[in-house]
Subunit: 265 residues, 2 copies
């Protein structure tokens, strides 16, 4: 299972070339991706304000009202997902694009009320379309993998009420890796891995034991916090190895599999 | 096989409710859709000019430069496709959204040079991403149908060079109906069928024999021309019945199957 980050600087063509080499070598791969940077760009073009919510516990997430959700779907599902499929097809991989909506692949609860800190005050937001994936259904993925297809999965997920919801793609990838009994989950983004002293790239942590995951969640900032949480959740649910690694290096996936980045075991 | 038109006035929820009743009754359905109206709206929001090309033989099509292609993908694949999937899921149908790119479902040639009439002069356009579906691959669709999923297919198609191309969804539906050996192809849009004297809805043609398809292609205007061509192509390729019918009536698919609209046999 390979999660390709949606941040700026990720070379999707290089990642797809690398994934194709692995698939051609006989190893099945499921691809998951996000789309934060492209969603921001599209929102800008459409005149939709890009806003962030900070929860009382310090987690940040995208403010996703109805029009932001639509831009998110257009960027993730309409553009990035199909770009990855096209790149993989060009490398001889029989890729099929899916979203978490399709056949209820990713299901979870939409948050009825989101608590957020605005100017130091806690406010309740009720028109937000966010949630988290509580159930990843392996059936469609197994059907496709067994027939030689490579699934490429995009947010959003679907709520139990049938609404599209913005979910964190790292955590969704962790759920999905466990559901399909993946051996390894590789989380690629535009950082070399977990850094002891962010943003000092020489302070890379090469290994995190299961026992110390919580500690690193506490230390990390922003997006990395959720990546480490995702790594912990994948391990807990039976995935043997999770690697948080750099998408910007040559052969990023094979490099992560051969020891680069931060390894959780 | 049901093709849902992308024009204004088509009630997608009603069409999906009707399709769900058919699927629940044990009849497998493949859904194909277009997205012309939504693409126009999105282009407007993004400040992309909506232009039409008229070929020397009088056919009209959307001028699809790179930025229009992207808007087309965002509207069709990002929004409409996933809206139809969500509506079908809500009715208990295990729907899976696909585009013609996925696993090279719809493959064809991109037109290298498009001849168009502009202000009475023939010009050659070289940066257009259009083509037509020459091959519909039934394998992924059969895999999904056999496992109880309902595929929902969106443009674009993929060129032999691996580029996304804008294709006519009616003609793609005809190719696909033949490829999966569908008994019946229903083409739904915002007209009651083929009209002898357009736009007089009382002049509905209820039946067109295979022999007279060409004649009606000649008589018809605009979008209807391609629908009738598609009907002829589907019959030629082995589909028993094609119905061009109204999406705006109650139970539009079952109504088409039970004799409404224009029937090609």
């Amino acid at each position: 299972m390979v999660k390709i980050g949606g941040s700026e600087g990720v070379d999707r063509a290089a990642v797809c070339t690398d994934i194709a080499a692995i698939v051609r070598g006989g190893q099945p791969v499921v691809v998951v991706h996000g789309g934060s940077h492209d969603t921001n760009q599209l929102c800008q073009r459409l005149g939709i304000p890009v806003r962030t919510i900070t929860s009382p516990s310090g987690h940040t997430s995208r403010r996703t009202d109805a029009q932001t959700l639509q831009a998110f779907q257009m960027a993730c599902r309409g553009i990035i997902n199909q770009q990855l499929v096209t790149l993989l097809l060009g490398q001889g991989v029989n890729a099929v694009g899916l979203s978490g909506l399709d056949a209820r692949l990713w299901q979870g609860e939409r948050k009825g009320a989101v608590r957020a800190i605005e100017n130091g005050v806690t406010v309740i937001i009720r028109d937000d379309y966010t949630g988290s994936v509580e159930q990843a259904d392996p059936r469609l993925l197994s059907l496709l993998l067994d027939a030689g297809y490579t699934p490429v999965i995009s947010p959003p997920a679907i709520s139990t009420q049938g609404e599209a919801i913005n979910v964190d793609a790292d955590r969704a990838a962790a759920r999905t890796a466990a559901a399909v009994r993946a051996e390894t989950l590789v989380l690629l983004s535009n950082v070399p891995g977990v850094l002891e002293r962010f943003p000092d790239e020489s302070s890379l942590v090469s290994r995190v034991s299961r026992e110390r995951v919580e500690e690193y969640v506490g230390l990390a900032q922003g997006r990395m916090k959720k990546k480490i949480m995702s790594a912990g959740e994948a391990l807990r649910d039976g995935v043997s190895t999770v690697v948080i690694a750099d998408a910007r290096v040559p052969e990023p996936v094979r490099s992560a599999l051969s020891g680069k980045g931060t390894r959780f075991e």
